[in-house]
């Protein structure tokens, strides 16, 4: 594998090809030949895909497709049984510290301390990343302002709305300035407006800050034309590429239909082992 010095992001910027094609340089996230079993049950089978820097990749699949297992493997919650995962060339098993530092995560369940204030939550996360308190406070003020919670710095998280909490979690995930952001069903339980806000916010991060995003979802209306897609079903990757590519391959008028035909075909074939 070609490795480049990740401390010089301008090199990636210069060398990064169009996000729609598979980049030749180091991927923000590289998942290669990942399989995972819970006892006898196979949750993931030979899953491979990549997320380019400064791209928005949607990991699409129904509940039970294996998205959460994949996220757990990328975040090193579980050990990898087969295959490799690396973040900007840092193998998650061999050099977890280096990999995790470049990774920001928003988990599906709420992971904020409800009784602690907005700032306290951010400071705790900063400490976990080894960011000194003074620096953490500066960054905290900055991200809080950006998500429009400047007047709620000392409010208890419990008193925030669902959308505000999500935005805070995203802000928290970005506090240590990662270059890959992982979001697992980040819009679950939010109303339409809040969902749209969160999605727009994350897309801005990709555009303005060059962050690679892996957006796991089962809601197809969150997919945009320009996104890269990874379609996961029954632990298998059924398709990957840009939305246009996938529609072209399946000949379906929209993604909804394309997804249905792909999954039905896969189910008909049965579960290949």
């Amino acid at each position: 594998m070609t490795t480049i010095d990740t401390s010089r992001p301008e090199q990636i910027a210069r060398d990064a090809p169009e996000p729609t094609s598979v980049p030749a340089v180091t991927l923000a996230l590289s998942v290669a030949g990942i399989s995972h079993c819970y006892g006898r049950r196979r949750a993931l089978s030979d899953v491979s895909f990549g997320v380019a820097p400064a791209s928005f990749t949607a990991l699409v699949g129904l509940n039970g497709a294996g998205k959460s297992t994949l996220i757990a493997l990328i975040t090193r919650l579980f050990g990898i049984q087969a295959g490799r995962i690396s973040v900007f060339g840092h193998d998650i098993s061999d050099t977890p510290g280096d990999a995790l530092r470049l990774l920001g995560v928003v988990f599906q369940p709420r992971t904020l301390d409800l009784d602690l204030s907005v700032m306290q939550n951010l400071l705790y996360h900063a400490a976990l990343q080894g960011i000194a308190r003074r620096e953490a406070r500066l960054r905290g003020d900055e991200v809080i302002a950006r998500i429009g919670l400047a007047d709620r710095v000392n409010s208890r998280v419990r008193d925030l709305s669902g959308g505000q909490m999500r935005r805070l979690e995203i802000a928290r995930a970005l506090l240590h300035r990662p270059r890959l952001l992982l979001l697992d069903e980040a819009t679950v339980g939010l109303d339409v407006q809040a969902r749209a806000d969160i999605l727009a916010h994350v897309r801005t991060l990709v555009a303005e800050r060059g962050i690679g995003v892996l957006w796991a979802t089962h809601l197809f209306d969150e997919i945009a034309e320009s996104d890269d897609l990874v379609v996961l079903h029954g632990g298998h990757v059924l398709a990957q590429g840009s939305v246009t590519q996938i529609l072209g391959e399946t000949g379906a008028p929209n993604f909804d239909t394309a997804f249905r035909s792909m999954t039905e075909a896969a189910d008909r074939r049965g579960r290949p082992s």
Binding site: L123, R133, R134, R137
Partner: protein, 334 residues
């Protein structure tokens, strides 16, 4: 700001931890250095305890059934009544040996000296008499007839009145030391054991073993003015048997041994109210303060040991094994 505070706190915690670990692993002991002489009624010995190390440093063989024990006023000798030998033996503090004996009546139990230390008054339990002995010449000067089974002995601070309590007659006898005549009798509760004057002579306390009380007597009017009662949760009243009494020189605090209750009662000597009870060994009997009044030693007859009470802290700090059936204790400077 919170960050700084947190930093300081964790640093402080770390320091306290290290400090605690250091002290925990390196222990020290206090110092005072007196000698306590404990009469062991059954083993016929006197145990000598060093109050510095709180260990028994010598055991002196004495006569049969040693009970009452006291230091002479000059501090050179310890007197111990050996009841079954019908005499009082003199232990030399310097050599820690029995050097002589005094002629008492039969079965001497408790005794007291006058202020000058020249005259000794001895209660002879079997004889219903108090024997008067000249300590310098070591001769018997005479007897005073008192009630049945005389025991407690006390002399008023002005030296004019000698008190003797008789166990069966249940009385405190007031004896004029000049005429050696009983001038008054005050009835107290059953089986009076011990008598103690307040340093200023304003009150006389008499403990009643069976009655379970301490009677406070006005020595001028010669009447009982108050009675101190004891009540320990979880203990039967019969188990509470007051015997020995110790009062601090400032007359503020009194300690009362409660026998089979295994407790010492601490009493406010001014208000006569019990402040607290301290757990000691079994059948706690008599007591003595160290000369600096920092510690009080009490004898536990049945458990064969002596408990040490920190007087200011009002806590039992140690219990030391001695001979069999320790009865009385006297304190001397080495």
């Amino acid at each position: 700001m919170q960050a700084a505070m947190m930093m300081n706190r964790s640093k402080m915690l770390c320091r306290v931890w290290l400090c605690g670990a250091a002290i925990w692993l390196a222990t020290a002991a206090p110092a005072s250095a007196f000698l306590a002489y404990v009469s062991n009624e059954k083993s016929n010995t006197v145990s000598v305890i060093d109050t510095d190390s709180w260990t028994v440093t010598a055991t002196i063989k004495v006569g049969q059934r040693p009970r009452g024990i006291e230091l002479t006023r000059d501090g050179k000798s310890v007197l111990v009544a050996v009841g079954d030998d019908d005499t009082i033996q003199i232990i030399d503090v310097a050599s820690q040996k029995v050097v002589d004996s005094l002629p008492s009546g039969p079965d001497p139990e408790l005794f007291t000296q006058d202020a000058t230390g020249k005259i000794l008054y001895v209660a002879n339990e079997n004889d219903n008499t108090v024997t008067v002995i000249d300590l310098e010449k070591r001769v018997r000067m005479g007897d005073v007839q008192v009630g049945v089974e005389p025991e407690g002995m006390a002399i008023s601070p002005d030296g004019k009145i000698l008190i003797n309590t008789s166990e069966t007659t249940n009385m405190a006898h007031f004896i004029d030391t000049a005429t050696r005549e009983i001038v008054a009798n005050v009835l107290v509760d059953a089986r009076p054991r011990f008598a103690e004057f307040k340093r200023d002579g304003s009150e006389l306390w008499v403990s009643s073993e069976i009655g379970g009380t301490v009677s406070v007597i006005d020595p001028a009017k010669r009447v009982v003015t108050d009675k101190i009662e004891f009540n320990i949760p979880g203990l039967r009243r019969e188990a509470i048997q007051p015997v020995g009494i110790g009062m601090t020189r400032d007359a503020k605090t009194a300690f009362i041994a409660l026998g089979p209750a295994n407790r010492i009662a601490i009493v406010d000597a001014a208000t006569h109210k019990v402040i607290k009870y301290l757990l000691v060994g079994q059948r706690v009997w008599h007591m003595a303060f160290t000369p600096d009044e920092k510690y009080l030693l009490v004898t536990n007859g049945v458990s064969n040991d002596v408990s040490v009470i920190d007087v200011t802290a009002q806590k039992v700090i140690k219990t030391i094994q001695v001979g069999e059936l320790p009865w009385g204790v006297a304190m001397a400077r080495p």
